[in-house]
């Protein structure tokens, strides 16, 4: 069973300095409960959850405070018991520096759990299990925060060849998965066993970069005692980004999952080891996801991993580690892919695997960007086998169509290209810019299509009204038909017999009715208001309030 696993390789990649040592000396500590928790409602990919509480409500630890909005979404929970002091816009742990709806909880210090019951997933239908996980707020902890219940679906065949657990942790500084594997290997493996069962996977491969011998040893020890022999720990060569899901799948199985396709269609699925642990907690203990392990590293006196409640301010967390005086920024994530936070007063969320404290000395401002000399270094480093300079060339000039032709959306934003570029071009920034522009254009295009439909509809309506008027006029006058025809001819294009005209008007009216039903917004702007319209106006009022609300912080930070 433990035959030597054949390893494959992916192209590109880089070997930056790892800086992992300092945060692994001490075991995981539990970060103290802060005086105020700010829990953003929107913490995962998908629709923003709807708030279930309002200011003044009391909540228990693990109580659901935000309900998943549809299936592609995930619930959020109170990290401790206390009182909701506000549901309001708060600064998000997001580079934009914008705010979003958060539930602000003042802990009561009792740390009182809601009722917890293990979930018997074997007895439940797969759909029920997935709904349970969605409501338990389990999302991927490897960084992408994709709702895990959606990934726990074996796909077309109903079973998988390989479940990959991602313990590579290839980014410098981050060690949260490392210490998790060291300290909680057995529970992690139980989670893995649950996932294997749910996915009907024939085997589980846990890929760990070979610079983490302790974690490998711990997992091997734990799996030795385990009856589930399908779980295998594999050391993979240390090379960033070996932890990228596609890269790790490639290394472990030789399969390359193309962009835009589901890995389950290739018989593999990949989860972060932390996710496996979270699934264990949710299923076996009935605990929703309310905390995670976060590495605090970088420009601090004592780097360390903490178990942190979501909603804890990063400032409080960093303060535990004796930040050095020249600290000038806080980064969520690692140095290769992390995001600079607008302030250190943003909450830790499910995506926070690391709070990296930075300074000019540690992460100096790169020298000015020079023009790309097409040296091809970036292409050599790109793990997705892209031509980064071509994507850059066209993104820079805002020729997004071309950038897409060079597979912009295959880029995993790993940062290898920018890392090696002799011209110090912030390549990834250009890709992020291009991607978000392309998305925005799609939205704009939809809006334009909507406007076109509505405009055409209005023209049709005006046309019909004109015709109706003409018909009335015709009916009134003695000359009747002749004049009506003349009036119609004026209103419409030439040469239509009155018969056709009438038919046309009928069709138009029918069309309009159908359209009006479809739109559900009744743009009949005459006569008295229907209940529907009243409701519409109320809804609009609410939206307006929201817009104004959103506008305020934005205007503030604009300059």
């Amino acid at each position: 069973m433990n035959a030597l696993q054949r390893l494959f390789r992916f192209n590109g990649g880089v070997k930056p300095d790892y800086h992992k040592e300092p945060s692994t000396h001490l075991p995981i500590a539990v970060a103290p409960t802060p005086t105020l928790l700010v829990i953003p409602l929107h913490q995962s990919i998908g629709g923003p959850p709807r708030p279930l509480v309002k200011a003044g409500d009391g909540v228990l630890k693990g109580q659901r405070i935000g309900d998943a909005d549809g299936n592609v979404s995930s619930a959020v929970h109170a990290s401790t018991s206390g009182t909701v002091v506000a549901v309001e816009m708060r600064l998000m742990p997001h580079t934009s520096g914008l705010s979003a709806m958060c539930v602000v909880i003042e802990p009561d210090g009792r740390d009182e759990w809601v009722e917890r019951n293990p979930f018997d997933f074997r007895a439940a239908t797969p759909t029920a299990t997935r709904d349970y996980l969605r409501d338990a707020g389990v999302v991927g902890l490897g960084g992408a925060v994709f709702p895990s219940h959606l990934k726990l679906n074996a796909g077309k065949q109903g079973k998988l060849d390989t479940l990959v657990l991602n313990g590579a942790e290839c980014e410098p500084f981050i060690t949260c998965d490392d210490v998790l594997m060291r300290e909680r290997a057995d529970r992690l493996l139980k989670g893995a066993a649950i996932m294997r069962e749910m996915l009907a996977a024939s085997r589980v491969l846990i890929g760990i970069e070979d610079n983490k011998p302790e974690a490998i040893a711990a997992l091997e020890a734990a799996s030795a005692g385990n009856i589930d022999t399908t779980i295998q720990v594999v050391a993979v060569p240390t090379r960033y980004p070996a932890g990228g899901a596609k890269q790790l799948i490639r290394v472990l199985t030789g399969i390359e999952v193309p962009h835009g396709e589901r890995s389950t269609d290739y018989g593999v699925q990949c989860f972060n080891v932390g996710t496996a642990f979270a699934i264990y907690e949710a299923i076996a203990l009935g605990q929703p996801l309310i905390s995670r392990i976060v590495t605090v590293a970088g420009n601090v006196g004592q780097a360390r991993n903490y178990e942190v409640l979501f909603g804890t301010s990063m400032r409080d967390l960093v303060a535990l580690c004796a930040p050095l005086p020249d600290t000038d920024r806080v980064i969520m994530g690692g140095p290769m892919m992390g995001f600079r936070m607008p302030s250190d007063d943003v909450p830790v969320v499910k995506a926070t695997n690391c709070v990296l404290v930075g300074s000019q000395k540690l992460f100096p401002q790169p020298p000015p960007e020079m023009p790309c000399i097409r040296c091809g270094e970036c292409a050599k480093a790109c793990p997705a086998d892209l031509q980064p300079f071509e994507m850059y060339w066209f993104s820079r000039a805002r020729i997004f169509g071309k950038a897409q032709e060079y597979h912009l959306f295959d880029c995993i934003e790993c940062g290898c290209c920018a890392y090696v570029c002799p011209s110090r071009i912030p390549l990834v920034d250009y890709y992020r810019f291009a991607k978000s522009e392309i998305w925005a254009r799609e939205v704009e295009k939809d809006a334009a299509d909507l406007a076109r439909d509505r405009y055409e509809f209005r023209l049709l309506r005006e046309e019909r009204e004109k015709q109706e008027k003409a018909a009335k006029l015709a009916a009134k006058t003695a000359a009747g038909r002749e004049k009506a025809a003349a009036a119609l001819a004026e209103a419409e294009k030439p040469a239509r017999t009155p018969d056709e005209e009438a038919k046309h008007a009928l069709i138009a009216a029918a069309l309009e009715r159908a359209k009006a039903q479809k739109e559900q917004v009744h743009p009949e702007n005459t006569g008295n208001l229907t209940a529907e319209q009243r409701a519409e106006i109320v809804a609009i009022e609410a939206r307006r309030a929201e817009i104004r609300e959103q506008a305020k912080p934005h205007l503030r930070q604009d300059d």
Partner: protein, 194 residues
Amino acid sequence: MTSYLFIILGAVLVNNVVFVRILGLCPFMGVSKKLETALGMGAATTFVLTMACGASYIIDAWLLIPNQLEYLRTLSFIVTIAAIVQLTELVIQKTSPVLHQVLGIYLPLITTNCAVLGIPLLNVSLRHNFLESLLFGFGSAMGFTLALILFAGIRERLEAADVPVYFRGTAIGMITAGLMSLAFMGFAGLDKFK
């Protein structure tokens, strides 16, 4: 056999219509902004030019020369070409919508491509026979197509370059065409070795 090959190669490279004979520049500048359109234009031109060379040879050899009407050459050639272009367009438009999608919008532009008249006239002055005329027409059109797609390839890249603002677009296109014709001067002298 090899002499036919040389006619084609000579027309494509050594005496490239655009860079050496300086014919067909307007579509060369006008339809080279995108590779796709350049290919379409090239294909359309190749078809029409080959046809035009054949037709004009027949007119010249069967109608004009026997009747000593050489002075009607330009007139009859160009009218025939215009008609061929228009006919082709109409027929393609109806019979093959796909092909029309590809070539349609370029066909009318071909009438204003002076290579389409220039090459048949050159055929006469070079005393090509029927086959040679066809090959020469085909080769020249391939030369045109080559120039066009090469140019389009560069222009697509140039569009994203940080070209000084007054040079964007056509101006830098001209400079590029100049450098391309400079490069094609490297072929100078090769046609002596056929």
